[in-house]
Symmetry: C2
Amino acid sequence: MAKSSSAVEQRRENRREEILRAAQDLFHRQGYANTSLDDIARAVGIKREGLYYYFPNRPEILIAIIKPLGLQLRDRVREIRESDASPEEKMRLTVENHLMRFENRFADSKITLRDDYFSEADIVLAEMQPIWDDYERLWIEIIEEGQQKAVFDKSLEPRIAHLGILGLCNWAARWYKPGESLPVPDLIDMYNRMVLRSLGAGSE
Amino acid sequence: MAKSSSAVEQRRENRREEILRAAQDLFHRQGYANTSLDDIARAVGIKREGLYYYFPNRPEILIAIIKPLGLQLRDRVREIRESDASPEEKMRLTVENHLMRFENRFADSKITLRDDYFSEADIVLAEMQPIWDDYERLWIEIIEEGQQKAVFDKSLEPRIAHLGILGLCNWAARWYKPGESLPVPDLIDMYNRMVLRSLGAGSE
DNA sequence: CATATTTTTTACGCCAGTGTAAAGAAATGG
DNA sequence: CCATTTCTTTACACTGGCGTAAAAAATATG
């Protein structure tokens, strides 16, 4: 009987999820740095040491929360990049991809995009960096494609333009609060107008 | 003889400066969170406890580094705001004001603009928040002025537009490294083109 | 129901980082 | 030179947070 049953696995998975939900909420409200394992355990209703049964350490909890979203962001931009859409449309979709999760995945979007962990957890960085590197590459390719097709301003250095636009989008993770100011679709719309103009698109 | 001499004061000030330089370098290289008082003391060549003679605690060291720059940024934008320049020119100067210090005040610019301290030091936030609030207000006023004079796109929500542009500029504190990619004046130039276009200016 | 497995709690130990006070050393001023 | 002031070091104490292992409790299984 070394093989545990489906029911036991389900129970384990439920607890893992419970821990991740609690951690996500806490990371969101008080930051990763200010969230201890004791905080998480208390929120779940177990003792701190019990968390080690499910996760090896605190950084791994963070990874379990942010990596899926990072992968989604990247994979979606890859699809966009490989599509037949025009460069403008691609950029539009890419910005939308970045910001749309603020609507119903606000907490993990915020945690992921703020990347506060950069100074704290080398293993988290090691895990996320390849994803963000891919992500960057894809954005740059979209910009380059637009420049090649004389749709975006050719005088812009593609990587630096990307980083500027990424900054514009990521900064929202700092200030955006659901229910205040603009609904997400309007935010996307407005930022897409700004972004496309900044790239010199739609200069009619 | 309760009044110490100029020479004693000078000595004290020298040591304080020495500490701030060392701290700035460390904060820059490894982040505020990863810099202990021991690290700073070692870099200066004294014992950790000695630092308490000059500064009450670590957050106050950070404040001593970043507050002057925050005030400069704000005060300069206030001048710009109150000038007779056109809205476009004001925005140009404002972006320049934000980015120009990457040239010869890279370390403290980077530390200041990255605002990593937000999750760690309430007293730092308390000290800086009023400055950033003023700063934001001034940016927004410049945008509103441009919209009123039909130079910037009136459909943009001013604060959100400001936050997007701020994000674009601030993000540079994460990725910009002197000597790599663009020299600062070229970076300013390029970002100003992007920013002004994003606001709908210069749509000729 | 007894046994095996899983989960949770208890019990420790460690340490990095901090802050305080007193003692000692160095600098200053008359 | 000596008393005073300033600066640095020594000496402690504390605490938050973490990780490990064993014991106890809960659950699953035949």
